[in-house]
């Protein structure tokens, strides 16, 4: 048996030694962040046994070896114990060359270094960007990104976000790096004060009686297992088991841009919205400028919490105002009354000449062909 610390030798050095000497046995490593064992036969790594909680364990023996080695390398100091001749545990195994393994680790370390330029560590606290990135007219966020984006609140650390989203810390860092690179989140220095309890709406309760999110169970049945459905997801859990606020309620930004002048008051007999209510995504869509109305404009939760009154200001677009009224914002008010006494006798009169789709310069053959291919691939 050979024991030592990793102060003088790196884990990479030890692995190269075992591989180069074509040894058979087990290498136990204990480091600050966790522990694990690698098993060798004739210098090749056959299997790995992590002894720490990994939320998304690898599905293949090679993946498990690579994950464990990478985790052990990037964590702090530690000790190792080499047991010559130790048998590989029963179960799935592979044969992985040490040099190939170290090349993989090296690639991952490079990627981690890039990630850390924007997401410094698992203890970093991120906040939502108060404004969309400059020049952005549409923001597309993948389901996985959304899963972490809605947990960014200026209070949780990256590690806490990862826990709530059931991701490994590094997976969360990777997703958050993408969001940070896009200008949607930024790393802060320290956690901000806790949000007001009024905003800790459990996901099982509707944020507003004006918001009826359609039951998505039927839709979710048709989607990949990991598809995130705003308003229909299982509530993520904090590490302590507490539910986090419903993601759907954090997915849209109701507040108009700061520089937008205050619109004229809406003529209505309805009461002012309750500042404690969460934003209604539908209303948020309607409140956006047309160019933004179809993208997922991320919210600025901190701002919305701090200035709820502004978040419910009527949008500047008259049609949107009308739509808000009609959307049932004021259930007990007749829509005609809500629109300030304007009378509508059926649909608005059509234009003299209908718009032709072939005259739409944004509708091109290439785009339609790709849409056809896409629909066929659903």
């Amino acid at each position: 048996m050979l024991t030592g610390t990793l102060d003088d030798f790196t884990l990479q050095d030890v692995l190269r030694l075992i591989g180069g000497a074509r040894r058979t046995g087990g290498l136990d490593i204990t480091r600050d962040g966790g522990a694990g064992s690698l098993f060798f036969r004739d210098g090749a790594v056959r299997s790995a046994t992590p002894r720490y909680g990994r939320r998304t364990p690898a599905s293949t023996p090679q993946g498990a070896i690579e994950d464990l080695t990478f985790d052990l390398v990037r964590w702090g100091r530690g000790d190792f114990t080499w047991t010559p001749g130790a048998a590989t545990p029963a179960g799935a195994e592979t044969s992985l060359d040490v040099d190939a393994l170290l090349r993989d680790v090296s690639r991952r370390l490079e990627e981690l270094a890039e990630i850390q330029t924007l997401v410094p560590s698992e203890e970093a606290v991120l906040t939502m960007a108060p404004q969309p990135p400059e020049g952005a007219v549409q923001i597309n966020v993948t389901p996985a990104e959304w899963r972490v984006l809605v947990l960014v609140d200026g209070h949780r650390t990256v590690s806490e976000i990862a826990g709530a989203a059931h991701l490994d810390d590094l997976e969360a860092m990777k997703l958050l790096f993408g969001l940070a690179a896009a200008g949607l989140v930024t790393a802060g220095s320290s956690p901000a004060p806790a949000p007001a309890p009024a905003h800790e709406t459990p996901s099982s309760e509707p944020a507003s009686d004006m918001t009826d999110m359609t039951d998505m169970s039927a839709v979710s049945d048709t989607l990949p297992e990991d598809t995130f459905l705003p308003g229909a997801v299982e509530p993520a859990e904090e590490p302590n088991g507490h539910e986090v606020p419903a993601p759907a309620m954090a997915a849209f930004d109701l507040a108009p841009p700061a520089e937008t002048p205050a619109p004229e008051p809406v003529r209505t007999a309805a009461p002012a919205p309750d500042p404690a209510e969460e934003p209604d995504p539908f209303l948020a869509e309607l409140a956006m400028e047309p160019a933004d109305a179809f993208g997922l404009v991320p919210p600025a939760p901190a701002e919305a919490h701090e200035a709820p009154a502004e978040a419910h200001e009527a949008p500047a677009v008259d049609r949107s105002t009308a739509a808000r009224e009609l959307a049932g914002l004021f259930d007990d008010v007749d829509p005609m009354q809500a629109l300030g006494g304007m009378a509508f006798d059926g649909p608005p009169a059509p234009p003299k000449t209908p718009r032709r789709v072939e005259d739409d310069d944004q509708v091109t053959r290439g785009l339609i062909s790709r849409l056809i291919d896409g629909v066929k691939g659903l």
Partner: protein, 204 residues
Amino acid sequence: MSHQPAPRALVRRNRADGRAQRPLKIVVTGPFAAGKSSLIQAISEVAVLGTEREISDDTRACKETTTVAMDFGRVSLPNGLSLLLFGTPGQRRFEVMWEVLSEGMIGFVLLVNGADERSAAEAARQLETFRAYADVPFVVGVSHLDDPGVDEAAVLASVRDRLDLGDEADVVACDPRSREDVKALMLRILFGVLRRLEPIAAVP
């Protein structure tokens, strides 16, 4: 953790000409209780931003809730594109929304309840209105044809006749709860657009 480059949220900025490529929109319209909300729910991957409300008038005999304002759905395609679906409100008093919803649409689905003769008459008025708003491809989907004893061909012919449509128009049976049926409707519209842009195009 895989070692592919870290993914980045897509932030779409204005094109070089200063204009944004807008997502393309298909409107789903039709009379009350034809299945518009179900159709959007069948294919949209985001929570349908519907605003269903309990019905307070005599139409409650047909269904418990109806859509006020609109339904909104998004279909993200495997190749990264997306289609937006907007459903029109079910009750007449919300017809003020029609023009807004029709803006920029590349086509529309007219859904007709094949089990209700009044539905086709109402649909005729909607078809006329939407065709006046925009000269875009459309497809007529006839729903509620799954009742025993329903002669599907006869109903489709009747709907075509009531809508005063020729043989060239697409009038097809459709279960709005069926993802495949909804996909077929989308494809008919998209091929219709393609034919407008390119006279010689494949027929779905």
